[in-house]
């Protein structure tokens, strides 16, 4: 049997894997990407489409900034339009003490490049007259925006393929082995692929592979809850999201130039990992309707025409797994982005390519290391 050789083998064709394949080609590495289903099918293609930096873990902003710079250059980089609009992002709240928290975030040195501005009271309602009277304040990020997630991962994969990467869809991995200085991957259709370095970008399935290398992580799976209205004249360019600690109040929306308003947030659903389908919880949609009327009272007579979900991987500290393996040389991870990986996608691809090609990266990714779970999982396996 012939074994397909490449410098780097990527398992998982979401946005992270596709972007990494593209940037690895930029750095002259030969790349094969294996995707069990279709590129960008689960988390990458179904998310809200927020290209948002504000509100992220402060330690993640350096990576988010690097990604933002790439988003700005995307059409020329990948020769494709992902419908990215740097339309501004507004994070609003219903309580005075929450304004103080937003202000503290805006004042943090890490958030300097975001140029955040705090609005409250009359100034807020003059600037955003469509917001409901319950909204007390907000933090405006002028450079953040949104894009079309359905297009992103496939566009990166096509660009990678044009640059010489080998993209194998409908190719399911059956076994991964460390052989000598490299890796040998067998697929269910009986093929074999080998490479010196292996990148796991398998999203909600990432820990199934990390576990095989002795690095289990407590990854949980959730289905995001999304809805879209019929199109109406384009009037709300700013992405709006609610900052709150009450889960029911979490809601965000964006209008696209086509006119539809896309809504997300609220209760998540439990995906069926066997059929690989995630349903929308009807109560989520009813809650979104209620919350939207509070946030945007003018939405009243619109109709929701479609709802959808997907499969996302979450970690208990709401941070991803990203960086080199703590156990195996040549093994790298980028998965479990906890429902906020879309904006990071190009940056993650670029950083992982840099790391894999050069052995280090200029962007801090230490907080996302898989080693942070080494102690807890060791204890857990002792207990069980």
């Amino acid at each position: 049997m012939t074994v397909q050789q490449s410098d780097v083998l990527i398992v998982g064709g979401g946005l992270m894997g596709s972007a990494a394949a593209f940037f690895l080609r930029q750095r002259g590495q030969s790349v094969t990407l294996l995707e069990r289903d279709q590129i960008g099918q689960y988390a990458s293609g179904v998310n809200f489409g927020n290209v948002r930096r504000q509100g992220r873990h402060l330690g993640q902003l350096e990576l988010a900034n690097r990604s933002w710079a790439l988003w700005k250059r995307l059409p020329e980089l990948i020769d494709d339009d992902l419908e990215f609009i740097a339309s501004g992002h507004m994070r609003v709240c219903y309580r005075e003490d929450e304004i103080a928290e937003l202000a503290a975030y805006a004042a943090a040195p890490e958030a300097r490049e975001l140029d955040l501005k705090i609005y409250r009271g009359r100034e807020l309602h003059e600037r955003f007259p469509f917001l409901g009277p319950d909204v007390k304040g907000g933090s405006y990020a002028p450079h953040d925006g949104h894009a079309n997630p359905r297009l992103a991962a496939p566009a990166f994969a096509r660009a990678a393929a044009r640059a010489g990467a080998r993209i194998e869809e409908r190719t399911e991995v059956s076994e991964v082995q460390k052989v000598g200085g490299g890796f040998l991957v067998s697929t269910t259709d009986g093929r074999q692929f080998s490479a010196e370095r292996l990148l796991i970008t398998a999203g909600a399935w990432g820990q199934k592979l990390s576990e095989q290398f002795g690095e289990p992580v407590p990854l949980d799976t959730n289905g995001p809850q999304m809805a879209v209205t019929e199109p109406v004249p384009y009037a709300l360019p700013t992405v709006i999201g609610v900052y709150t600690k009450i889960p029911e109040e979490v809601i965000y929306f964006r209008q696209i130039p086509r006119g539809n308003i896309i809504i997300g947030g609220g209760y998540r659903s439990k995906p069926d990992m066997l059929t690989r389908r995630a349903q929308v919880e009807p109560r989520s949609i009813l809650n979104q309707i209620q919350q939207m009327r509070r946030l945007l009272p003018g939405v009243g007579n619109l109709n929701i025409i479609r709802v959808w979900s997907g499969i996302e991987g979450y970690l208990p500290d709401s941070l991803p797994i990203m960086g080199p393996s703590g156990q195996v040389d040549g093994l790298y991870y980028a998965f479990g982005f906890c429902g906020h990986g879309f904006q990071l996608g190009p940056g993650v691809g670029d950083v992982m390519a840099e790391l894999i090609a050069t052995g280090s990266t200029s962007t801090s990714i230490e907080p996302f290391s898989i080693r942070r779970f080494a102690g807890t999982t060791a204890q857990r396996s002792k207990a069980s």
Binding site: E230, Q279, E281, P282, I285, M292, N301, N303, I305
Partner: protein, 468 residues
Amino acid sequence: MATARLNIPSGTAPRVVIVGAGPAGTRCAETLLAAGLVPTLVDENRRDGGQIYRRQPEGFRRDYATLYGSEAHKARALHDSFDRLRPRIDYRPDTLVWNLTPGQLCCVSQGRHFTLDYDALILCTGATDRLMPLEGWQLAGTYSLGGAQIALKAQSVSIGHRVVFMGSGPLLYLVASQYLKAGAQVAAVLDTSPLGKRIAALPKLLARPGLLWTGMKLLAQLCLARVPVHLGIQPVRVLGDAQGGVSLVQVKTAKGDGLDVECDALALGYHLRPETQLADLAGCRLAFDPASSQWLLELDEAGRTSVSGVYAAGDGAKIRGADGAEHAGRLVALALLEDLQQPVNAAELDEQRQALAVMDQFRLGLAQAFPWPSAQAKALPDTAIVCRCEMISAGELRRTVSEKGACEVNRAKAFSRVGMGRCQGRYCSQAGAEVIAAAAGVAVQEVGRQRGQAPVKPLSMLTGEVAP
């Protein structure tokens, strides 16, 4: 027939919900009631009868012969049955089932939301028009045949002064003759199916000689009234403008000559497609039916889906027409009774099964006589709109295949927006699949089918919640 035992906690009555109060739903409810079960019957319409035996709104005074023609006695019989049932069942008209979870329906009625728990669910959700686009069909004044019929039946309104009927299938002739009878000017009946197909299908159509005769009488009436009827035509385009809408329909006759028909409205349709969204959301399997070249629910002979406790009958299950729906409604009720370990009269079961076998033979005859014109999708000009909701052209859809490699319906939808609009793909997804398959050079079943997504119909943001 394999029964599938349903486990109901002892001492409680099974909660049976029927969706749809047309011929199938009504006969199903009647059969269950006769066996001592009290079903809940949910219907989206304000009144019972479904599409075929749609009851006119209160205040309208047309008689049965005017409304239902040769089928008046059947309409009256069904309505009379329903009127007897109505006080004895839990009837919920004007209620949309927009979503479901296992064992629970999500309903909206008059702007209020509520849930209905079920142990057994019988989907009698009917069918809608099957449509094939042509250039210009997005102009105002282009209706589906079913839509044109509803305007007439419900509101006594014609879709235009001078109407062209185009497409294929029994509904083409039925609606044209109903318009004629109502006094509208029928400019032409343009059928894509050539005469030869109909002659070849005669042996199967003779399974129901009475219905075949009714169909021939409709054709004779149209000819007697000097309505131009053309068989074996090829649609070319609809012409008109944004202001005034449709003004001209251009086709090629069977001989290959150009034919222009002036009109101010066009009713279009190629027989029917089943409404399977709820079954799809419930996880029921569908299978490609080569005879009608579309995806149908995978059902046993009696209407059991692949999901325990979920059943289907009527045109939503298989396009066997109104008479077939009445039999299927009764049969599916008997199947449910069997699954509940209740006594079922074997002779009645046999009678319904045999009647349905005849209807199925006729169904195959219709599919042969009035074939779905898949070649039209292949020949559709790049400029023709495929998805009217999102205004996406055939060229754009083809480019998602050729440039982006989307050889599967849901993927092509994600890239192009075809099927993403208000109609949820009801109008365009079958034709879209044909366009994708032709562009990819594969058979239409290879590109899959558009997955059902909630809400089944648009859900108003004004919807308020009420306790279940």
